[in-house]
């Protein structure tokens, strides 16, 4: 159970999600990484370059400072780690389940939140944008790929999500191992 809790710290070492934009002029793609606490790119200027491209279609600039989740999500995760460690010492099976369910709800909420931001960026377009195509929205997919004008946007979980999955697996394992101990 402690392992399950500690795994969550991995979220501070690797991004959760990766959005890749592909176009002929970008042979190596343009990669944006979404962390629990920040948004980065392949180079320090990637975000600026994405914003330059996006301004033609009137998309709002992506400014990590304006996304409050990036500020409070880290505290939620640390809270979960501490809670998990605490629960581990209680050795109470029901609490393990409780923790696991919270983690899953948080994960689902996180993905929903991610979707909402994507929806907002994709739909909330400036009426004075240079390129306006009737009916076109630029919401990247949460999972999978989609053509957004000349760019193919590919959105997939990144290594950080693996820690989340590992955490859940360890949670279930600790539950089942304890189950065996408990039966004896």
């Amino acid at each position: 159970m402690i392992l399950a809790a500690v795994m969550l710290l991995g979220l501070f070492f690797s991004p959760l999600w990766k959005i890749r934009l592909e176009a002929p002029q970008y042979p190596n793609g343009v990669n944006m990484y979404i962390w629990i606490n920040q948004i980065t790119g392949d180079t320090p200027s990637t975000l600026q370059n994405i914003n330059i491209l996006n301004h033609y279609i009137g998309m709002e600039f992506i400014k990590p400072d304006s996304i409050p989740e990036l500020t409070y999500f880290p505290f939620v995760i640390i809270g979960m780690v501490l809670l998990g460690i605490g629960i581990a010492f209680t050795k109470k099976r029901k609490l393990f389940v409780f923790w696991g369910v919270i983690l899953m709800i948080l994960g689902a909420l996180g993905i929903y939140d991610f979707y909402l931001w994507e929806f907002n960026y994709g739909h909330n377009l400036s009426p004075t944008a240079p390129i306006k195509i009737p009916g076109m929205v630029y919401q990247p997919p949460v999972f999978g790929s989609k053509m957004l004008l000349n760019f193919k946007a590919i959105s997939l979980p990144y290594y950080g999500s693996l820690f989340l999955v590992l955490s859940m697996i360890f949670n279930i394992l600790s539950y089942s191992l304890n189950w065996k101990n408990w039966k004896k």
Binding site: N49, I52, Y56
Partner: protein, 656 residues
């Protein structure tokens, strides 16, 4: 009568037949394939793939360096060095004007001859490329991280910097021998007083850790024409060899006057000895006046400094510093083989290549085997230093390079061919015609300790019928040969810019990963740079108007400027805020008397514009940067000199 008539017709037929036979023969040869059907695939680099070598060609009278890929012969870039270039604003923007400063003031042109790659342990290392300016004696350094000229040093007491830069094996020194001897220091004398007043100077330019150049010392030598040079390597490291002609010391009609003696000299300079004399204080300090110009990637600007003296060594006072090796027939190129043992003198008026032995030279010096002495310089006995000659190999040998497998390749200008011969046995192994009149030839690393071999490039002065005609002025050209086998094989012809005087080539692997993609905006130290659009502004100081302007796809900030007056000096300090690869922005202003500017991402450049009449004048981005490039424009309102219109600027101000 009839019989005679018949004979004449028959004769004409024979002549015509021989003529057509020759024609078709030469045509077949000039196509170069020799029936080898895979020649095309040897030079074919598929779209999107890279060439194996970078090749740096001097532009001769264009004053520039052009960069080609080998084996494709594709032109990659023209680097402005000694000549102004409106395309890149080199010599036109305020930042690079100091690069072309000399003791004569701003000189917008030179004649660039010999590119030379920096070396470590005798092998090209890909840090810098040096090149000489022949006309107003200078040496330039190009940084191979940015492919930009970053330093130019003027050479005092020199005139016609031809035997230059020819680096030493650990890039300790570059050399600069004077082609034209002149009075040193300069003075107003009768030209007939040549023998009495004219002197030559051989300069050694120290290359610092970061590539920075300074004149370490000059050697004052007899007033000959010092033509070419090469520094020793391996066992001959520590020596430099300079060819000379006009040892007759003629001041007129040199084609006759300088061609009378059977032998001229190769000057062998022991520069390690020179260092000892220098350290011992055995030099004279001569007053001088020469420019040292440096460009900084941090300020994106150049500065020019005038230096006032130079250390001079006099051979008479420094025994053992310099010797003369007699070499037949006005030797042109002097080339040292990869082992450092053989010194090849290419006697340009003869059919032979004379090769001296370094080991024999040291022995002769030890034995005092001298024939004569001139101004304190011993002339070594020819037989004592001569290793062998390549006999009747062609006519007019100019330059020799090596493949690292014991073979040498010499260009012959008069007989227009390349001859391959064997070091040590001096036998001719192969010969191929070149089209036409070859000067230098180049093998990648072919003048170094470890030639990369594989290809040979002939650098030809004359093309005549090789390409579609373009009026009286035709291109000069390069020809690529495969030298991996026993016989040289012609693979490709390609035209070049200006005169491809000499070239150097290096495996692309050594350079390409160091290539800078863009300048970091956070590192920009230009005094007029801005870091974001919020900092854009226009200020007035008397008649000087400074516009701190930025560019980013697809607009300038500011793009509306008012309050400029006739007679002002308007400085557009354009910072390109982009931080991505290959997104330059340009700026052109109507009526500007210099050029556009072309600004790389993260860089700041300045265009000076002097408005001449009231009105509204547009400026725009000159480099097709984006989908809305054509929208990337702005206006400057110019008011009469006595107007009261205040300075005002804006961008995106849609409402009144």
């Amino acid at each position: 009568m009839n019989k005679y008539y018949f004979k004449r017709i028959a004769f004409l037929f024979v002549v015509a037949f021989v003529f057509t036979a020759c024609q078709s023969g030469s045509n077949k040869q000039s196509k170069g394939a020799f029936g080898d059907s895979d020649v095309a695939s040897k030079v074919y680099v598929p779209p999107g793939q890279y060439d194996e070598f970078y090749a740096f060609f001097s532009g001769g009278f264009s004053g520039q360096v052009s960069v080609y890929g080998l084996p494709s012969g594709r032109l990659l870039k023209v680097i402005p060095v000694f000549s102004v270039d409106p395309e890149k604003a080199y010599g036109f923007n305020e930042e690079t004007k100091p690069m072309l400063n000399t003791s004569f003031g701003f000189i917008p042109w030179d004649d660039s001859h010999h590119p030379e790659l920096s070396q470590t342990d005798g092998v090209p290392d890909g840090r810098w490329l040096f090149i000489n300016g022949n006309n107003t004696p200078r040496i330039a350094r190009i940084d191979l991280k940015t492919f930009e000229t970053v330093e130019i040093l003027e050479i005092p007491n020199s005139s016609g910097n031809h035997s230059s830069p020819f680096i030493t094996e650990n890039s300790e020194y570059l050399v600069a021998g004077t082609r034209f001897s002149v009075p040193i220091p300069q003075k107003d004398v009768a030209l007939k007083s040549y023998k009495e007043n004219f002197k030559g100077a051989l300069s050694y330019i120290k290359v610092g850790k970061d590539g920075e150049m300074s004149i370490a010392f000059q050697i004052l030598v007899p007033g000959y024409d010092y033509d070419l040079a090469h520094s020793g390597k391996g066992k001959s490291h520590g020596w430099t060899f300079f060819t000379s002609y006009n040892t007759e010391e003629s001041n007129t009609l040199l084609e006759i006057g300088a061609s009378q003696k059977d032998k001229d000299y190769i000057a062998a300079v022991n520069w390690k000895k020179a260092e000892e004399y220098l350290a011992a204080g055995r030099f004279k300090t001569f007053p001088a006046n020469y420019a040292h110009n440096t460009y900084s990637d941090a300020t994106h600007s150049a500065k020019s400094e005038m230096l006032k003296e130079v250390k001079v060594l006099i051979p008479e006072e420094c025994p053992g510093l310099i010797y003369y090796l007699p070499t037949p027939k006005s030797p042109h190129g002097v080339d040292v083989d990869p082992s450092g043992e053989y010194i090849c003198g290419n006697g340009k008026l003869s059919s032979d290549i004379t090769v001296h032995s370094f080991t024999k030279m040291l022995q002769a010096i030890k034995d005092d085997n001298f024939d004569d002495e001139v101004d304190g310089i011993p002339i070594i006995n020819y037989e004592a230093v001569h290793a062998g000659s390549v006999k009747s190999s062609g006519l007019g040998p100019l330059h020799t390079e090596f493949d690292g497998r014991g073979n040498a390749y010499t260009s012959f200008f008069i007989s227009s061919e390349v001859v391959k011969w064997k070091l040590g046995t001096w036998e001719v192994l192969d010969r191929v015609p070149v089209y036409y009149s070859i000067g230098h030839l180049m093998i990648p690393g072919g003048d170094s300790k470890k030639p990369f071999g594989k290809y040979l490039v002939a650098l030809n002065k004359i093309t005549k019928d090789r390409y579609l005609p373009t009026g009286p002025e035709l291109c000069q050209a390069a020809q690529l040969f495969d030298i991996s086998g026993d016989k040289m094989k012609l693979l490709l012809d390609f035209p070049t810019i200006g005169e491809p005087h000499y070239a150097q080539a290096i495996p692309a692997e050594i350079i390409k990963n160091n290539s800078v993609k863009y300048y970091k905006l956070t590192d920009n130290k230009h005094p007029y740079h801005i870091s974001s659009e919020d900092e854009a502004k226009v200020t007035r100081e008397g008649d000087n108007v400074h516009i701190y302007i930025s560019s980013i796809r697809s607009h300038f900030a500011p793009d509306n400027i008012e309050g400029v007056k006739v007679g002002d000096k308007v400085y557009f300090h354009l910072t390109n805020l982009e931080q991505d690869w290959d997104v330059p922005h340009g700026l052109g202003v109507m009526g500007a008397k210099n050029s556009e500017i072309l600004v790389m991402p993260g860089q700041t450049e300045t265009l000076l514009w002097k408005p001449q009449r009231p009105g509204v004048f547009p400026f725009y981005c000159t480099d097709f940067c984006s989908a809305l490039h054509q929208e990337m424009q702005g206006y400057v309102r110019v008011s009469p000199k006595d107007s009261k219109v205040p300075i005002k600027w804006s961008v995106g101000d849609f409402e009144e």
